[in-house]
């Protein structure tokens, strides 16, 4: 029985099945806390937008991009479970994300976007 299962897995170790979901997912309360934090960051983003004259463009743009990255990372890590699931899922997604960032930074540079 065990042998036949090994052959069906074509050499994949059974431990991989357990590694696939090695850490427990957040509880409902954790999701609510994360959503509140995301909501507060969104409110701060909007405040930054309206305070551009007082804060200056450099600080506003830097702050908005930082908050955007934090929100992106929180949703991906907690709501999409990338922090808890098998690292293979994270690698696949991050590969696509980095490829997109690299390709389009190169494209924007070639079209003199930054100048």
């Amino acid at each position: 029985m065990s042998v036949s299962m090994q052959s069906e897995h074509k050499g994949a170790p059974l431990e991989a099945h357990h590694e696939a979901h090695s850490k427990p997912h957040p509880r409902d309360r954790d999701y609510v806390v994360i959503a509140i934090i995301l909501g507060l960051i969104t409110a701060l983003e909007i405040a930054f937008y309206f305070l551009e004259d007082d804060l200056g463009s450099g600080l506003v743009i830097g702050g908005l991009i930082t908050m955007m990255i934090v929100k992106f990372a929180m949703v991906a890590a907690y709501f999409m479970h990338l922090k808890f699931d098998n690292p293979m899922f994270r690698r696949v997604f991050v590969f696509g994300l980095l490829l997109a960032i690299g390709v389009y930074i190169a494209a924007l540079t070639s079209m003199h976007f930054w100048s």
Binding site: A12, A20, D28, K71, I101
Partner: protein
């Protein structure tokens, strides 16, 4: 370990990371496939956002972004979509606990929040057209409508999937054994949310 730990045991069927059938990687092919799709979708939206950045200030005639954007209204829409990610996460949590009734409630709530977002987008597009910004008015309009329109289509497809899952649940076909299906759809919905996080900042907020 017996093979029932992999084939057909309740633990294997309800655990989203563990496939209910043998795979060469030991991971769920369906879930891995969704992550590959989302990784490739980054390239689609990366292209659309880059195009928008390149073209938004190259219009030879108005209106310009600052002339039409209504930041308070779009902020509310963004908050609604953000909260739909919370309700989706709660739906996934409920199906893992075999709480089908609560899962159904959260799925419907997510679909409603998504619909509110789409209604807001339709209202916003209508207001922009009334202010003189059509799809072919200028190059900013073309890039803006293409980017936000593609995102809107993603949300609309998500709402259709959500309602499909809701109907499946009503018919009793969305038990714990389908927890992975709900979780995989949840990945799609959260991705749509993180794309909007990018669009909201890059398109609307950054001066």
């Amino acid at each position: 370990m017996s093979d029932t730990a992999v084939h057909g045991s309740p633990a294997a069927e309800s655990d989203p990371g563990v496939p209910s059938h043998a795979t060469s990687t030991g991971l769920s092919n369906e879930k891995l496939g969704m992550w590959v799709f989302l990784g490739s979708d980054c390239l689609l939206f990366g292209g659309l956002i880059s195009t928008y950045l390149l073209l938004r200030h190259r219009s030879v005639s108005g209106p310009e972004p600052a002339d039409v954007f209504d930041i308070p209204f779009t902020s509310v829409s963004s908050f609604v979509l953000l909260m739909s990610s919370l309700t989706m996460a709660l739906a996934v949590g409920a199906i893992h606990r075999a709480d089908e009734r609560r899962c159904r409630t959260w799925l419907l709530t997510t679909a409603m929040l998504g619909s509110v977002f789409i209604a807001g987008q339709v209202y916003e597009f209508t207001a922009f057209v009334n202010e003189g910004l059509g799809y072919t008015t200028n190059i900013f309009g073309s890039a803006f409508y293409t980017l936000t329109g593609f995102h809107g289509v993603h949300v609309s497809v998500g709402i259709i999937f959500l309602m499909s899952l809701f109907v499946m649940s009503l018919r009793g076909n969305l038990g714990t054994e389908k927890a992975e299906t709900v979780e995989i759809f949840g990945l799609y919905w959260h991705f749509v949310d993180i794309v909007w996080i990018l669009i909201f900042t890059v398109v609307y907020l950054i001066p």
